[in-house]
């Protein structure tokens, strides 16, 4: 039996989303757990679901807000699904949605919250090197050479890809400009009121070549949550259902080989996922109306978009032009909330929220009549994930 014979397509829908206010890292007045609670309550309110009826929680990247404690705090009648997607970074964002949907589709749970909460002031930053005196294991082979932050871990992949396919810096710049452009329409965005242009990008300092400052994601505090229910109940709620057409997670052969030894190195890790994603969804890249693609670093977005078939690898310099990436009229409106670069770095779950908002017609950079809305989560890590949401007409 082919795995695609057992499809999630159209079986589960998102019926509510919720976000806290977004803060610069370390500036949340609330503890991380309280941020999680607030986002979940807002998602429940948005859907018209009682928090007592939530019976499952799914998250990723070792989220610290334990489902049992969340269920206890919220007075949930019963906990039936408590799920953590393995792996770090934002690679699990769409996988957590897939996991929740799988539980619902198989009857393990009826109302699952997918969430992510971060308070880096409370728990420390991502973008800093380790402070211990000695180091062992895989990191002993990189940290003593000054290779220790996420930007440093991924820059060599992007450098190699850019070399292989002669990608030039303006292609990366266009991705950053698109995110900042959309953030200027979004009052929730941390970079609202702080526009970016070509000159400001070009003059910004290098973090690690080929990443300028504006090629790198923010570090923020906040939380986001989504409510998933079975398709047959999806019309009982206030919002139009955003049906999950497909979700894929994983990585290629030996993607996890340590010390930068994966055989296919210069990749966003999506080559094996993309065909499965589109096949289950029953759509092609050309059918996608709007795309949210996780920007840890712009180079990861570029490779992700290539590996999902929107652009040939040797066509990047022509494809990644700012105007082509803008809502409402671009060829591929990209990161329409401002994304991780300019809205908020909520480990990418904000991108999934924005994808749903596009189907509801509620984005601050709305694409006209969006029917197929796609998310790519956490390029260059392993496992990564991606998903496609569709309006009712796509079923």
């Amino acid at each position: 039996m082919q795995s695609t014979d057992r499809s999630l397509r159209g079986q589960v829908a998102v019926v509510g989303v919720g976000e806290t206010d977004y803060f610069k890292r370390g500036e949340s007045p609330d503890a991380e757990f309280k941020l999680a609670l607030k986002a979940i309550l807002r998602a429940c309110e948005n859907a018209g679901v009682s928090p007592k009826d939530v019976d499952g929680f799914a998250s990723y990247s070792n989220d610290r807000s334990d489902p049992s404690k969340l269920a206890a705090a919220l007075g949930c009648k019963e906990l039936r699904f408590a799920n953590m997607q393995w792996g770090g970074g934002g690679g699990g964002g769409s996988a957590a949605i897939g996991n929740a949907a799988a539980a619902i589709a198989t009857g393990m749970a009826d109302c699952v919250v997918v969430f992510r909460a971060l308070a880096q002031g409370e728990f420390g930053r991502f973008g800093q090197g380790p402070r211990r005196n000695v180091i062992a294991g895989g990191m002993a082979h990189t940290v003593p050479y000054g290779l220790m932050s996420p930007a440093q871990m991924f820059a060599m992949k992007v450098q190699r890809f850019m070399h292989d396919f002669r990608v030039e810096q303006p292609a990366l710049r266009s991705i950053s400009l698109a995110s900042y452009h959309h953030a200027q329409n979004n009052p929730r965005a941390v970079m609202y009121g702080r526009p970016l242009d070509e000159a400001k990008y070009d003059e910004s300092r290098w973090i690690v070549e080929p990443f300028h400052l504006f090629d790198c994601c923010l570090e923020n505090d906040g939380a986001a949550a989504m409510i998933l229910v079975p398709a047959e109940r999806a019309k009982d709620f206030a919002n139009l259902p955003a049906y999950l057409l497909s979700a894929a997670s994983g990585s290629h052969y030996r993607a996890g080989a340590s010390v930068h030894n994966t055989p296919d190195y210069a990749t966003s890790t999506f080559k094996t996922l993309a065909p499965r994603l589109f096949e289950v969804a029953g759509v092609q890249p050309a059918d996608v109306d709007v795309l949210q693609s996780y920007e840890n670093f712009t180079g990861g977005v570029l490779m992700s978009i290539v590996e999902h078939g929107f652009c040939e690898p040797d066509g990047c310099n022509e494809f990644f032009v700012k105007d082509r990436l803008l809502a409402p009229d671009g060829d591929l409106p990209l990161n329409t909330s401002g994304g991780n670069l300019a809205e908020c770095y909520m480990h990418g779950l904000g991108l999934n929220v924005e994808a749903v908002r596009q189907l509801w017609g509620e984005s601050t950079s709305q694409v006209a009549d969006a029917q197929v809305s796609m998310v790519i989560s956490g390029p260059m890590v392993t496992p990564v994930s991606c998903c496609i949401f569709g309006a009712e007409a796509t079923l």
């Binding site: 000695v134 082979h141 003593p144 050479y145 000054g146 690690v208 030996r254 030894n261 210069a266």
Partner: protein, 146 residues
């Protein structure tokens, strides 16, 4: 140590407590690159694993390789993320592949001018950077153009 490529104060490497990469670190102290090689199928692998990913044999050994390679990728780092590097200025990290060992890759620094051009595929040779004044002496594996 004054003649190290990067300023002192970064975390010092130590062999993994489970012993998996101990032969590698011992080898560097003796100016040798010892990498993992399967005793059954002869394949090389790196980073070290408990099992051969090709033939699934647990019978893995370590063998010295010729200390040369070619640059597979690189990055020039400008922004310090560790206090020890705040005054460092730019530095170059290279990913070196070893054709003589099934193209396994090693991470190091490229010695010389941190502003220099770094051609992909360039031939490099190993330089063993000894940190003898550390509490537990260790050696880093650096590279320079051959």
């Amino acid at each position: 140590m004054s003649d190290s490529y990067l300023a002192p104060g970064l975390p010092q490497p130590m062999p993994s407590p489970d012993g998996l990469d101990q032969r590698y670190w011992e080898g560097l102290n003796d100016e040798q690159i010892y990498l993992q090689r399967c005793t059954d199928c002869g394949g090389w692998q790196w980073g070290p694993e408990w099992i051969c990913h090709r033939c699934l044999s647990f019978d893995l050994g370590f063998e010295a390789v010729t200390p040369t390679g070619r640059i597979y990728s690189f990055e020039r780092v400008w922004h310090s993320v560790h206090p020890a590097l705040n005054e460092q200025g730019p530095y170059i990290v290279v990913l070196v592949e070893l054709p003589q060992a099934d193209n396994v890759r090693l991470v190091g620094n490229l010695l010389g001018d941190p502003h220099q051009e770094v051609p992909f595929g360039a031939e490099v040779e190993a330089v063993f950077e000894h940190h003898t004044d550390a509490d537990t002496p260790f050696t880093l594996l650096q590279w320079r153009f051959a």
